[in-house]
Symmetry: C2
Subunit: 344 residues, 2 copies
């Protein structure tokens, strides 16, 4: 048995799987943002043809799943596994999206870190010889999230400047054993970090320390410098959380300014769109990865990406009970070259 663990929390895949295809779906707000052209499908109808916000999220994710399969030129029955989760209570967004798929399914909950969590586990099942083709995906929907986590939309509640806008978006990635890349090469799995933040309208502050911990651990475990990567992208700290990340990194002796970005700051135009600190929700980092970042490997603009999805672990109940909001961040290294001899 080859031990693939390096350092404290990182594994180096011995047979890095290829990200063969990817799809991104968004809603109206996303269609008005700077990445509009990057989505495979944009719906002007926030209901995606369904009768409730929750069903809308499932329809949106199903659309994204179908598009990813189509772009990969495969059927659902060609998949060994699908790894999916979302923000809704009991992850119903994913479950009803997969109701008719017939694919063996692992349900995940990692809040907004879900895209990196699903990609981590999907890549490990490929590399470990358990699968030949898998899908990793996730979604979020502004309307289903608002009424579940905060207030019914019709109340018109005011939002604080630190609040983020839950993206109505989904992203789906298909992994296989192909040779073209990009490849998932390393996985750094995050710990739960309690920074003591209790303001549910300031998720960025709750997640930034977790992002720092995972990024620094990844660099330490792999022996890489930050500039090994073309981009270290968090998702989704927003501008408040991202500033905190850069400050905390400087205090730890690392200047990440030049190399770092945040999916929550990319998906919307904060000058023109009323999103306060930026985007959030599982679907934000998922759609930015699938729609904006992964295509840059095709054009050669990106060769080495560290994708660090961050999650705020809490529920409205725990917040009302005065609990602090826990943070987590999982990092996945995606590279044009797999740097090993054998494919999967």
């Amino acid at each position: 048995m080859v031990n693939k663990h390096i350092g404290k929390q990182t594994v180096r895949l011995s047979s890095p799987p290829q990200i063969a295809a990817y799809a991104a779906v968004g809603g109206k707000m996303e269609s008005e943002g700077p990445l509009a052209a990057c989505f495979d499908y944009l719906s002007a109808d926030s209901y995606f043809g369904a009768k409730s916000w929750e069903s809308a999220e499932s329809e949106m994710l199903k659309k994204c799943f179908d598009l990813a399969l189509s772009k990969a030129g495969i059927e659902a029955s060609d998949l060994n596994y699908v790894f999916s989760g979302d923000l809704l209570n009991q992850c119903v967004g994913s479950e009803y999206a997969l109701r008719d798929s017939g694919v063996p399914a692992f349900g995940l909950f990692g809040a907004c870190s879900t895209m990196a969590e699903s990609l981590s586990l999907a890549a490990m099942t490929m590399d470990g010889g358990y699968a030949e083709r898998v899908c990793a995906m996730t979604s979020s929907h502004f309307c289903s999230a608002e009424r579940q986590f905060r207030m019914p939309l019709a109340y018109g509640s005011q939002r604080t400047p630190t609040a983020q806008w839950t993206a109505t978006a989904a992203g789906a990635l298909i992994l296989d054993c192909g040779e073209s890349g990009p490849f998932v090469t390393h996985i750094t799995t995050g710990k739960i970090i309690d920074a003591g933040i209790k303001d549910a309208a300031n998720m960025g502050a709750a997640m930034a320390p977790a992002a720092l911990e995972t990024i620094l651990t990844h660099l330490s475990d792999t022996g890489r410098e930050p500039n090994y990567y073309d981009l270290i992208v968090t998702g989704d700290l927003g501008c408040v959380g991202h500033d905190i990340l850069l400050d905390l990194a400087l205090q730890s002796g690392w200047d990440l300014t030049a190399v770092s970005g945040d999916c929550g700051m990319m998906i919307y135009d904060r000058e023109k769109q009323d999103v306060h600190a930026g985007g959030s929700g599982c679907g934000c980092s998922a759609s930015v990865l699938a729609g904006y970042l992964l295509p840059k490997f095709k054009t050669g603009e990106l060769k080495r990406l560290l994708f660090c999805a961050t999650g705020a672990l809490m529920s409205p109940t725990t917040s009302m009970q005065g609990e602090s909001i826990l943070g987590i961040c999982h990092a996945v290294a995606i590279e044009a070259d797999r740097n090993v001899t054998g494919g999967c």
Copy 2:
């Protein structure tokens, strides 16, 4: 790369990990049931010293996690990963239980199938060379579940005869590379099955078709007959769902009567305890596995167990919207002999 996939949905591990230690924790109702002596810890205080039902569930799971570590003779820092999930919105039971653990954490949601889901992924990360020691665990709490899924307890709502009693219980398993066993040898990952059931007080009926699908697929994929196993145990169909499973199996040409059991029918005495169709909740099958079934490998009473945890995928919101309740079942073969030459 060795392809470990056999048949449609099953993997055969090439380096089966050992289940090195396990712990079960329960509450008052569990202390009055037939398996009381099997729990490592029973609390007469349903709050487990906490101030809310949700915190109580986290405290209970943390107690179980600590007990499993202690029985394995290791510290949390010796674990590469923990796989955990629960029934609470956003899986807060698990997250706050792991707040101070410092262990890289994968959050799961599989409803009452979570123990098999976490054990599946934990075993794959061991077998794949990603870890040397991992923990798979889950919990449920009657009081946190009742008020979240049904009614506040103080309402004293009546329950229907098909309703099940959510166990206040947790189970945690530690996997490592030891030679003593029992070992996780095969994993059959379930598909989502929509049987069209809409009665949220009849989860057994919603899950039984998923259990059948996974069990028959496992037998077909492995070429095994039901009596290869000493026990094929579902968790938790209750007596209503288990009867449906046996009926459906007979219709498919299989008589599972002699070899099958159900964790939801084991944990309580339905004659003396007012639990209607039996136990349920992630913690039911987890604690029955950790407290009652796994010790039987030590005594030689069990040599081959197929552990088939079943989950009802829905939320109160989707049920109120008229959606059917989706079922899923993941199966894990646990055997005294690992039937391969190499250990992990």
